[in-house]
Amino acid sequence: MIELDRRTFIKGAGAGGATCALATLLPGSLAALEQQPLKAVGKEVASICEMCSTRCPISARVVDGKNVFISGNKEAKSFGGKVCARGGAGHSLLYDPQRIVNPLRRVGERGEGQWEEITWQQAYQTIAKNLNDIKAKHGAEAVAFSSKSGSLSGHLFHLGKAFGSPNSFTHASTCPGGYVIAAKAMFGTKVKRDLGNSKYIINFGHNLYEGINMSETRGMMKAQMEKNAKLVVFEPRFSVVADKADEWFAIRPGTDLAVALALCHVLIEDKLYDHAFIEQHVVGFEAFAEEVKACTPEWAQGVSDVPAKDIRRIAHEYAAHAPHAVVDFGHRATFTPEEFDMRRALFAANVLIGNIERKGGLYLGKKAKTYNKFAGNKVAPTLGKPGVEGLPKPTAKRIDQVDEQYAMMWSSGGIYQTILDATLEAKPYQLKAWVMSRTNPMQTMTDRARVVESLKKLDFVVCCDVYISETAAYADIILPESTYLERDEEIADKSGKNPAYYVRQRVVETIGQTKPSWQIFKELGEEMGLGQFFPWENMESLQLLQVNRDVTLWNTIKEKGYVSYGKPLMLREPSMVAAFTAHYPEAKATDADGTYASAMSFKTPSGKIELSSDKVEKMAAGRGVIKYRPVQLKQADELYFIQGKVAVHTNGATHNIPMLANLMSDNGVWIHPLTAGKLGISSGDKIRLSSSVGSEEGTALVTPGIRQDTVFAYMGFGSKNKELARATGKGIHCGNLLPHQTAPICGMNIHTTGITLAKI
């Protein structure tokens, strides 16, 4: 629940007033500059949001030189011209006095919070000297590079490559990597869900109504409200998505896999699956069917607390709506070490009803190249990929390349948390430095104490960020990046059922001394003696390379901000294929049934959907077939500790933004009334949560919206560094309670653990 009461309505959370004084003391912050009116770049600028990683298309207008009013870009139909609270609060970040607008050098101990302002030149020289020295003594691989993904990770990782290190990481293994790797194993690529056209949606705690992904959130609401879709939610907590569901089951944490397999069991045993689809497009069905024979709903009830009769009924209802039905494969939060098989089982429930490339089911993105091939015509332009030749080939292996079972993750962002093992235990070799951009592992990785220890042990740490985040607080050098409202970036692919492109553009002129990532890492590269690998002059030159110097196309994309081409296409949906072929006379000939089913290809070893995988079996013996394995997530006397997203914050990034901090600055811990009663806890009481790795003090929120054996908190709160003045010390820090544990195959950081609870 978002706690907004009469008091906050009248008085507001008012965090700003008290903390501004502190912020003015902070060197390099915006508060140190004289406040000047915002200078708009254009009347209304189309751009891309960066308040979370969904990157919605936005349209922004400067209001009275003070605010930026941000709405969605109407050109992007599925986003509806809408924006969420975080997206709307972009200017609050832009103008936050606590934002960093000048490069900083640490002058005290790491994490002590003593900083001095330096020039960009001094920053570049210090970084270049330190990294080049480390390279000379220990090899380039002793430096790890990590970044939030997007244009910024592209430029930082390019620097890493030019430098010669194989060790670059996104946050994938702490966030959405699980379903990506499962999809890679089964489909050979990522898949998308067509929630908006679905008639029956089964959801395993993918809280799209709080973890907002605009087009999907809108799609699901449209399906529910306008198409009468039924929504079934399995989640240990009564979230907003559970509230909006037709049926909510308070499933035992970490047992989603059992219910998913029981659904598959019913689909197979009761012959509800799409036999023809399996024959034509799927391998490994027999082995899977054999495995789920024992996974009866009755068995699953014992594991998950979801009644067997409901599982059976839901499987039948789901199949009755096939193929326009979907089991949502989820997003963040790795509920269990069996993450890989859990996500595969969710995909399997889709494959069984043959909803692939059908309305309301799953589909593969149609980028320009693929789409044009089907159309027999150049419907959409393809973008050039600027690159440079002669990049050095790293001689060392990646630090996460210890075990073959993780092979699929190496090229999908890597196993982020192995930086800790390589730093603290020299596994597989010693890391000496870490260069980060817009990533906050102190919050998003597990076992905070170990992250601190690592950051203290390294010889050199660089952070590029907009705030002195909890992680940046331990850096030697902080590079201030411009906010997204001040940056131009490459044109990005936003293809769904048809090709689309969009672009991030400056809305206001840069405040202070900040720079965009592409410029920071190019200039740093030049200082490091790697200038030859950065031949482009600026972002315009990169964009022009992308559009192959087609200035008309360039201008169109910049003016509209979002451009899509052609009609939506799903290869097995007869009505869509008919509309497509009618529109494009030179389109590829269809199959006899009027679809492109036979043209469907998957980048798996067999070229088909792999319900069971020989490739995975080779990577890890015994793991080729999806299987249930019992896991212990807590001790008998402990409570499950789970986390989730709230609509007004983004994980480890937004908690210090004034407008959002005022909306919510604390994460009350959800406790069931009976659990609380036994411990003498009432709402508002101070409580202590203790796990195997840490202990946190928080506030109790007693509510029937949680299982008796579980406690819940929204993640991202409870920062411990003094620079994030609005967020520090408020609420519990989830990462500090979670042990460092990595899931097989997908390499995910696990987010469920056991805790004990006490009133203090």
Binding site: M1, I2, L4, D5, R6, F9, I10, K11, G12, G14, G16, G17, V63, D64, K66, N67, V68, F69, I70, S71, G72, G80, G81, K82, V83, C84, A85, G87, G88, A89, H91, Y209, E210, I212, M214, T217, R218, M221, M225, F238, V240, D243, K244, W248, F249, A250, A647, V648, P658, M659, N662, L663, T703, P704, G705
Partner: protein, 190 residues
Amino acid sequence: MSKRYVMIHDENRCIGCQACSVACRSENGTPEGVSRLQVRVEGPFGDAPHLHFKYNRVSCQQCENAPCVTVCPTGAAYVGDDGLVTIKEDKCVGCMYCVAACPYKVRFMNPETKAADKCNFCKDTRLARGELPACVTVCPTDALTFGDANDPQSDVAKLINTKATYQEKTHLGTQPRVYRIPTKRGGIQS
């Protein structure tokens, strides 16, 4: 025919995400510490597993019979030609009668203008430019509908005529212009 602007808040569609309250603040420059608009997620009510939240839009109800206008001693609170309850800042003496009189507790003293303030459906900003109010413009799930209920072709007229709606505290005779479509989970079928 004169206009009768109304706002309809569909509690089935609302997810309590606060996009509306942030957009309102950005468009109207509402100072930190006070709000023209909030959506309070209240509850959960009921017995598990049959729980439900209430998504309560808290903002000026644009009463046709507005107590704030009746009590205002200076005429600062007034009903415009467009029927909207508005505030003339320079006439406000800060007596706060209106704040006390509002049955919906949505008036506040603006710390910058020192005058009473509240939601006016973005009358002087977005409506003046022919745009929809900020909250309606950004609502991710299309929970808000705004328009002239006197126009039978308007979306609001159609919704009021086809969906069960309710207004808050109608027993006070205020005739609020914020309509709510109750959640199906609250036991009232819409």
